[in-house]
């Protein structure tokens, strides 16, 4: 059974992708947008080095704040008040607050409805091919990546000038390679000539991810994305929830087959891995999934 909700989600993802990357002239000139909107983050993963990006990336912004403060040198200050003050100016409070506000209201729904990179993976998964689930245990990897690559390494792995660097962006983020690296390498020959092993590494990761996304549903979102790790726990406390009425279930499996992150919907709906995309609700022939206020 299909409801209009499915197409609404598709167009929502398309609109969000175009809306957050509407500086299309950047694809012609190779220059980034430098207007006032880049003071603000989008609530999804979207590289600010994409020539068309209008906003900042929240994961990049987190790392910039932590790394830009010269690391969290807690031993340098002796009073508790001074330490707390130093920590507060080294933590990305603005973007954490912003993401917590989004998560506190809608949980992980931003991943399911407006994330450009999530949409990209869903489009890849439409290519006819055998589909696989992948090992479930890998879902914990994204929490490690959030803590280690977004907070700890930028804070404590300092260069000779006592500055950190955005380790997730540098070593992992395939969205940066796709949206920023590849277009800029194409548009700026001078930049292209300087690319070396790091670009090769990141391009390889992107190629592997693209190949995986054809066979596995949204592998980056399920296993790697630190933003998904941040939003996930908010599914338990956000303003609404998705309820599943087990009594009427005929175990047809339609809900799980439609899930873009391959959840066992009757048991896992609305848990931290759920993107709240409502594909399961729209697929259920018995209409057993409902949105309700918590």
């Amino acid at each position: 059974m299909h409801r209009p909700g499915l197409k609404i989600r598709f167009w929502s993802q398309a609109a969000a992708t175009i809306g957050s990357n509407a500086y299309l002239v950047g694809f012609k000139t190779g220059n980034l947008y430098t207007g006032v909107l880049k003071h603000a983050c989008v609530p999804t993963l979207n590289c600010y080095s994409c020539p068309a990006a209008l906003f900042a990336c929240p994961i990049g912004a987190m790392q910039v704040t932590v790394a830009g403060a010269g690391g969290l040198d807690l031993t340098a200050l002796h009073t508790i008040g001074a330490r707390l003050a130093a920590i507060s100016t080294s933590l990305p409070l603005l973007v954490i607050g912003f993401l917590a506000l989004i998560g506190g209201i809608v949980g992980r729904a931003a991943c399911g409805w407006i994330c450009p990179f999530g949409w990209f993976q869903e489009l890849l998964n439409r290519i006819p091919s055998p589909k696989f689930n992948g090992p479930q245990v890998l879902k914990y990897l994204k929490y490690v990546i959030l803590i280690v690559f977004v907070f700890l390494l930028p804070a404590f792995w300092l260069d000779e000038y006592d500055g950190g660097e955005p380790s997730f962006c540098k070593y992992i983020c395939p969205a940066g390679t796709l949206e920023g690296g590849l277009p800029l390498a194409y548009l700026q020959p001078g930049l292209r000539s300087q690319l070396g092993w790091l670009f090769t590494w990141k391009a390889t990761l992107l190629a592997l991810l693209i190949a995986a996304a054809v066979f596995i549903r949204r592998p980056f979102c399920r296993w790697v994305c630190p933003l998904g790790a941040f939003y996930g726990p908010f599914n338990k406390v956000s303003l609404y929830r998705i309820e599943f009425e087990k009594e009427g279930c005929i175990e047809c499996g339609a809900c799980s087959r439609k899930c873009p992150v391959s959840l066992d919907v009757p048991r896992q709906v609305d848990q931290a891995e759920c993107l709240r995309c409502l594909e399961c609700r729209d697929a259920c022939p018995k209409q057993l999934l409902k949105i309700s206020r918590r």
Binding site: A61, T65, R241, F244
Partner: protein
């Protein structure tokens, strides 16, 4: 029976309000610290790490 009944207990409104107020407070403090300016400075220049230049 619903998964919500068998899984997590129903959260009181108080927790949601605390989360939302804390989020707004963090945003306010971060804005006052000028974090948006550091985002801006990073976002208007090509992020060499993001694109794989190092």
């Amino acid at each position: 029976m619903t998964t919500s009944d068998t899984g997590t207990a129903r959260r009181p409104w108080a927790l949601q309000i605390i989360i939302l107020l804390a989020a707004i407070a963090l945003m306010f403090i971060g804005f006052k610290n000028g974090e948006h300016r550091s985002y801006f400075q990073k976002a208007i220049l090509v992020c060499t790490q993001c694109i794989g230049l190092g």
